[in-house]
Amino acid sequence: MKLWFKGSAGLAKHEEAMQRLKTLNIFAEEKDCYTMNAAFLKQFRNALTGGGKSQSFGLATSTPDKHHVDIAFLDDYATKQWEAILHFMVGTTEGKPPCKGVLNLLGRSGLMTGGSDSGDNMDAHDFANHMARQDFGVPKITHKGFQFLLQDINTQVWAFLLQYLNTAESLNMDLVEVLTFFFQLGSLELGNDYSSEMLTETQKHLLEDLKAYGIVYQRKKGSRRFYPTRLATTLTSGTPVMLGSHSNAAKIAAPGARKGEGSGDDDDHGFIIMETNYRMYAYTDSPLQIAVLNLFVHLRDRFPNMVTGVITRDSIRRALFKGITADQIITYLTTHAHAQMRKRSPILPLTVVDQIRLWEMEKNRLRPTTSWLYSQFGRQQDFEGALQYASELGVVVWSNQKRRIVCVTAEGHNAVSGYIRRMITRHKEQQQAQQNEQRQQQAVSVAP
């Protein structure tokens, strides 16, 4: 069995896995031979072959569908649904707003701001309007949301589903059933239709939601069959989703609008050319990508297969105000740089990268620190003692020897103030003791 693994790293993982399986009593080791627990073995075989009642690979419908749909249609559907969500996130008005479930999820996952809790009693359209109104027409995309947009589609789908799992509990859904259904989806075959009759109530509800994300397709609500789309079938496989890049997706969505020409098309991710004079040319016709660019580029002209724009202080500041960081912008530009740009090193012109960073720093010229100020120390020793104590704790923000002022952070305030109080009382006690001693001495000298 050890021959299955390459290198020591794989072997270590294998040993860890075997250890766990052993503690679960699934495997027993005997003289370097592993034996599988009999009951587990039987069920495992059952699961692998899809036998029994568990239906680990979904139940294929036995009768042919009158309204059979082909793979191209499913791809189209998945793309349309998923992009609708992404479109909504970047704030384009294209297409109708996604349904309430999606909006709720976006709000709860912190990908977008806008009262996710207040929308419980509104229908989808009202809710979208409500969110839109909060930011003068554009629902706010958050820092996290932008990060989300930068990821490839498989990661996005998983992030969405994980978030769904988090919220499932609050919706009184059984986590086990939800998870089972997710994994089951991953093993379904694209282009086949499956029966929804065997599903539990929870899973049927889940099906409705997944339909909204474009992960499964159902012809109409309550239909007895459903089709997994490419988003679903690639869930558990490591291979990149074919819909992976948006430009590819755009090709599927609008096959006639795009001719395969130019080197940019070969490299799915590279379409941005950035010049040292802050001008940007993007070879794309995907409204989604244009919308993403619009978040931080001042777009000027739009042609059938490209857009031009310029990065300005205002455009970057607009993005910064939305919580998008300079690093995120730079990463986006780098990962989507045109093939011609990649030949150079560094990929992006240094002037542009530096300037974007400078604009970000300019926004943070003020750095406030919550702190407490101690001043008017009576004696130099008191001040020095306090300063030394505070610097030992590492809580000094600022100090001045001459003016006897020391600033400590809010965390250090309690400790330092306690120390100073103790120091001053001790000093007073000493003084009193000295005075008493002096008096006694005087008394002694008077006595004879």
């Binding site: 205002d314 750095r367 406030p368 407490w372 923000v397 001045n400």
Partner: protein, 65 residues
């Protein structure tokens, strides 16, 4: 609660001193790059500084129009 404000340059500090003449919020003037201000004023201060700096930047887009 009070806050110490640290800027990276003295120009911002001078702007803060100018703003202080409108509403007294500086508790202690520490040095060229530090002032000690009332915590409740920090957000307002940040917005004010932003606005002043904005007025003083050359905008290529607008200049071309």
């Amino acid at each position: 609660m009070v806050k110490a404000v640290k800027g990276n340059d003295s120009s911002v500090k001078q702007i803060i001193l100018g703003l202080n003449e409108r509403g007294q919020f500086i508790i202690e003037d520490l040095d060229d790059t530090h002032v000690f201000v009332d915590a409740s004023c920090v957000e307002q201060l940040r917005a004010d500084i932003d606005q002043i700096l904005n007025e003083n930047t050359y905008n290529a887009e607008e200049a071309n129009k």
